[in-house]
């Protein structure tokens, strides 16, 4: 399995960002308080923001390198992105949403492949529904189907569970954790929830003020919290503010 390797520095408004990370066999979970620069980091990896310096490689291919003057445009990076509220196109039905990113020689084939993608996530029955008629959990599956149908080489998930009701969160978390194991893609997940970090069973990277302040397995962080934020996160006191909508 290939790896996503990132080492970038740059600015996001007032914030100076400087982060190195690697995601391969297990998902990398990025946690941090609001304004730590987590979303800006995702934008740099996606190609929607340009780092001032650094290097991003995916499976050996260079996506960005300031020294070699490489900056692969966003639409050709092959990085799948699932934003916090999934961003399904409200004017298209589920099938059309999934078909949007599929490149195929004919319209019929696009639709067929979109249907396959929906089926893989058990939501083919929702094909004709508009996003407004989907629950948050259903919308997430359709959005995942849309992302995966493009056969991305890496996945970025921004707060994938934040839009969900607490009642369904546990099921979706398990579904997502299983899915990530099955899809075998280098994945970066931004979250604010300790239980997410635990369920995805990967390395945890803690960001504060644009920098990495601690990294390691969750158990390690719990044993030796490096900052107040980590202490609050791992103590389960849920002192974290909910993510900005």
């Amino acid at each position: 399995m290939s790896a996503l390797e990132v080492d970038v520095g740059g600015r996001a408004g007032e914030l100076a960002i400087d982060v190195a990370l690697r995601a391969a066999e297990t998902p990398l979970v990025v946690v941090g308080p609001n304004g730590a620069g987590k979303t800006s980091l995702l934008m740099m990896i996606l190609g929607a923001a340009t780092p001032r310096r650094g290097r991003i490689t995916l499976g050996g291919a260079t996506l960005f390198d300031d020294e070699q003057d490489v900056d692969v445009p966003l639409e050709r990076r092959g990085v799948g992105f699932l934003p916090q509220r999934y961003a399904l196109f409200p004017h298209l039905d589920a099938l059309q949403n999934v078909a949007y990113g599929i490149v195929a020689p004919s319209r019929d084939e696009r639709r067929a492949r979109a249907m396959d993608a929906l089926r893989e996530l058990d939501v083919s029955s929702l094909a004709a529904r508009r996003p407004a008629a989907l629950s948050a959990g259903e919308a997430q599956r359709v959005a995942l189907a849309r992302t995966l149908a493009r056969r991305p080489r890496a996945l970025l998930l921004d707060e994938p569970l934040a839009a969900l009701d607490v009642s369904v969160r546990r099921d979706v978390r398990r579904f997502l954790a299983d899915g990530l194991r099955a899809w075998r893609l280098p994945t970066v997940i931004v979250t604010h929830d300790r239980d997410d970090a635990a369920a995805f069973d990967g390395d945890v990277l803690v960001m504060e003020h644009g920098k990495v302040v601690q990294r390691g397995r969750l158990a390690e962080l719990e044993r030796r919290p490096g900052t107040d934020f980590v202490r609050q996160l791992t103590s389960g006191r849920r002192a974290l503010p909910p993510p900005a909508p």
């Binding site: 916090q84 196109f89 004017h91 949007y100």
Partner: protein, 275 residues
């Protein structure tokens, strides 16, 4: 302040109770005031004439050519404004630098220019002695006093209404949708046509309607830049002004025609924009 924050029903006689009682009255007086200010002149236009007078006014030979010129030029100017204004609004909505803000403000200026000044400005740009007049003349184009000049004048004064609405509509677009479309491999042009425009349809249509309405009522800039020639550059507002010189009743009939056309167009555009 405590009273207004308190969830409990206000005590009779308290300030909150008084405010609660005065609120509907104030609401009615203030909103009613504006309603009357706008509605009464329109009512005056419609109800101080008799059907016979209206028909006599409509039989005026000015009416037919003026209606034709108006419909042709306003439709053409709407097409021009929408075709060029939509991409421009998209660019403006996505740029956040100071220079673009200044440009955005500058593009709103035709709204505050007195129409006659707008007409002079057009002459100073495209007239014989204007900035581009000699270049146009060399290409064999003489804009002033032509029907094309009417379209240019209408577009000049009407474009800001469309641009403002379109920029606002594009700014309301969820940036995640654009980003996701791009990660799904869509080029900027595909994002524009398949995401931005369909999702901003209501805002764009509203702007188009306002811009069309403004073009319909355009008078001063047209008179200055395109002159007043029956069947060629005389639009309904110009015909109304000409009729005012001789006969208020004819002018009134023409005004009713203009208002009726505007109303039908606005209703049509709004209905068509509903998803």
């Amino acid at each position: 302040m405590r009273a207004s924050l308190s969830p409990a029903p206000a005590r009779p006689g308290s300030r909150a109770a008084l405010a609660a009682r005065l609120w509907p009255v104030g609401l009615a007086v203030l909103s009613g005031g504006l309603l009357l200010l706008v509605a009464l002149p329109l009512a005056g236009l419609f109800f101080t004439t008799s059907p016979r007078q209206l028909l006599a006014g409509l039989a005026n030979p000015l009416v037919g050519p003026a209606v034709r010129v108006t419909l042709f030029t306003t439709t053409a100017s709407l097409a021009l404004v929408v075709a060029c204004g939509t991409p421009l609004a998209w660019v403006i909505a996505r740029r956040r630098t100071r220079a673009w803000r200044v440009l955005e403000t500058a593009l709103e200026l035709p709204v505050v220019l007195p129409p006659a000044v707008a007409g002079v400005a057009l002459l100073l740009a495209f007239g014989r002695r204007g900035l581009f007049g000699p270049a146009l003349a060399a290409a064999g184009i003489g804009l002033p006093f032509t029907r094309a000049a009417v379209i240019v004048a209408e577009s000049f004064v009407a474009a800001p209404f469309y641009l403002q609405a379109a920029v606002a509509a594009f700014r309301r677009l969820d940036p995640d949708l654009v980003l996701v479309a791009r990660t799904l491999g869509a080029s900027w042009s595909r994002v524009f046509f398949t995401v931005a425009i369909p999702l901003s349809r209501a805002g764009l249509a509203g702007g188009a309607a306002m811009s069309w309405a403004r073009a319909l009522g355009e008078f001063g800039a047209t008179l200055m830049f395109a002159g007043n020639m029956e069947g060629r550059t005389q639009t309904l507002p110009l015909a109304i002004y000409a009729a005012l010189e001789s006969d208020l009743r004819t002018a009134q009939s023409l005004s009713i025609v203009l208002v009726a056309i505007a109303f039908a167009l606005l209703v049509g555009v709004r209905a068509g924009a509903r998803p």
